[in-house]
């Protein structure tokens, strides 16, 4: 088991955000987390990567309670691409990517040759070698995401957690970022907004609503018209795409349904 949430509850003051959520990710799996806005996807991920402390329950990372592990040890096992990456001040892309080496360095160590090689490789893998010396703040949304993913790669962790990596990107860059993530041969846990993207890339999907897991399984098992109606409150038609054999979702608005039924 790579990472596991065991009966995690979380609340802000008296508002319960997560109710006894359990979830697990096997090695080399690509697991998606879907649910409507405010369902608790981000909160769950933040609990898993320790930005928030669960009220009850445990997070197990590689068979050990995450609270028992050292900060740097965790960062070597798990890399995180958060939802927003506001970068203040003027850093070059290379500076940002180099920061992923932090958990591997002793308190007072300087960068060495190995770090340079690892950083170059990560830049190349993310397809942004040509941007290395650019100012991070001058990049487009998709390029920024890829730079942050490159930073995660230099952590050399086996597990990658991403919170809506395709947010605010146009469709070409959404696919580019998702292709990059799936090409990395890492264990992935990713919160996704777009259900067709989730259907295309995930091995397994957890569906979350109101802080509870509604169901989980392969995209074909999970993404049914009934579930979409129940969880997302939309009418949809689901077909298997002839090329990919993955579910393909077409949404039908209330207005369309009324017009076509008449």
């Amino acid at each position: 088991m790579t990472i596991e949430a065991k009966a995690v509850s979380y609340r802000i003051v008296d508002k319960q955000i997560l109710h006894d959520i359990s979830l697990n990710v096997q090695s080399q799996e690509f697991v998606g987390l879907i649910g409507p806005n405010g369902s608790g996807k981000s909160t769950l991920l933040k609990n898993m990567y320790r930005l928030l402390q669960p009220e009850h329950g445990q997070i197990i990372l590689y068979d050990e309670d995450i609270r028992q592990q050292k900060d740097k040890a965790i960062a070597k096992k798990m890399a995180v691409v958060g939802q927003e990456s506001p970068v203040l001040f003027d850093f070059s892309v290379r500076d940002i990517v180099a920061m992923g080496r932090a958990p591997h360095k002793k308190m007072f160590a300087l960068d060495d040759k190995d770090d340079v090689i690892i950083i170059d490789q990560a830049l190349q893998q993310a397809g942004i070698s040509h941007l290395a010396n650019r100012d991070f703040s001058s990049l487009s949304g998709g390029e920024k995401k890829r730079a942050i993913i490159a930073r995660a790669l230099t952590q050399q962790a086996k597990l990658l957690i991403l919170d809506e990596p395709t947010n605010h990107l146009d469709i070409k860059h959404q696919l580019q970022v998702m292709d990059l993530i799936s090409s990395l041969k890492l264990t992935v846990l990713v919160a996704l907004h777009d259900l067709n993207i989730a259907a295309t890339y995930c091995d397994r999907i957890y569906v979350i609503k109101d802080g509870r897991v509604v169901t989980s399984g392969t995209p074909v098992e999970v993404l049914t018209p009934q579930l979409l109606r129940k969880v997302f409150d939309v009418h949809a038609e689901v077909t298997l795409h002839p090329l990919t054999q993955r579910p393909s979702i077409t949404y039908l608005s209330e207005k369309q349904i009324k017009e076509h039924l008449q």
Binding site: Y49, R50, L51, D71, K72, A73, I74, A75, K76, M78, A79, V80, G82, S85, P86, V87, L88, F89, D90, F91, S92, D95, I96, M99, G100, R101, A102, P103, K105, M107, F108, L110, D111, D135, S137, Q155
Partner: protein
Amino acid sequence: MLFIAMTFAIIVGSVAITPSIVWRVIFSHMPFFGNVIEADWTKAQEIIIWELRVPRTILAMIVGAGLAISGAAIQALVRNSIADPYILGVSSGASVGATAVILFGAFSFLGIYALSFASFLGALLAVIVVFMLAKVHGRISVIRLLLAGIAISLVLSAITNFMLLMSKQEGGIKAVMYWMLGSLGGAKWSVLPIPLITFIIVFTFLYLQYRNLNVLLMGEEAAITLGMNVDRFRKILILAVSLLTGVIVAVSGAIGFVGLIIPHIVRLLVGSNYKHVLPISALVGAIFLVIADAVARTIIAPEEMPIGIITALCGSPFFIWMLRRNSYSFGEGDT
């Protein structure tokens, strides 16, 4: 550049001296060159150079470099580009201590060290109170740190002003004014070791932590996921910076602007990577203050202008010019 500034700073003053004499006097005090160089200068020149201007220039370097790196570190700590080293209450705490000494002769048993001691003590107490107020459930909250710093500074300034108002001594009030605007007039060889050693320790520490300072600028979420113990690092930073600024303020008064503006100038030159920001800030800060002090000594000679007036007068227009440039974001980034 630094050497030119140093030479220039030592030359200027009410007694004229040539550059060659300056360096020959300095080298004649070095262990190896001492016998080689022939003394063809007057005893008075030697005393002015070696006992007055050289230590003063060195103190200016330490103070300038120290304030600049403290400012850079504080800006990373609070992720805010308008922060300066005094945001933690250091200068206002020190002012209370200094005012008490100047006006009421507090700590008079310490003799000439009373002023330095009292201002360091005041700075330390102010930082401790700010630090306590910023703690929430044992963790440091950055926004509380900023607000507590402002609140405590206001309270302490009020106390200083109250003491000034109640005082009947004209001379004392002027002395306090001078102190608050900063001066390097107290420079002697015997004053240098403590600031120098503190500077070297804190600089070395911060420089070796450049990676963590960078990571801290990425925000709490990124810092945690990159394996940093954010809270512990913040506490260590506060400790290091307060120590350095406390020592500096104790010897030179509250010289403003250097800690705020130098890191910005440096970021404009070399970007935000603290691997470069720290050493370059130290260098630029040192040069800036050496020149500022030279100007302070000469502009209304034979009287001395408080150096804080010079740093603000020279610094502000430059800062405003930077403000109007579009290429520098002042840490606003692309949020």
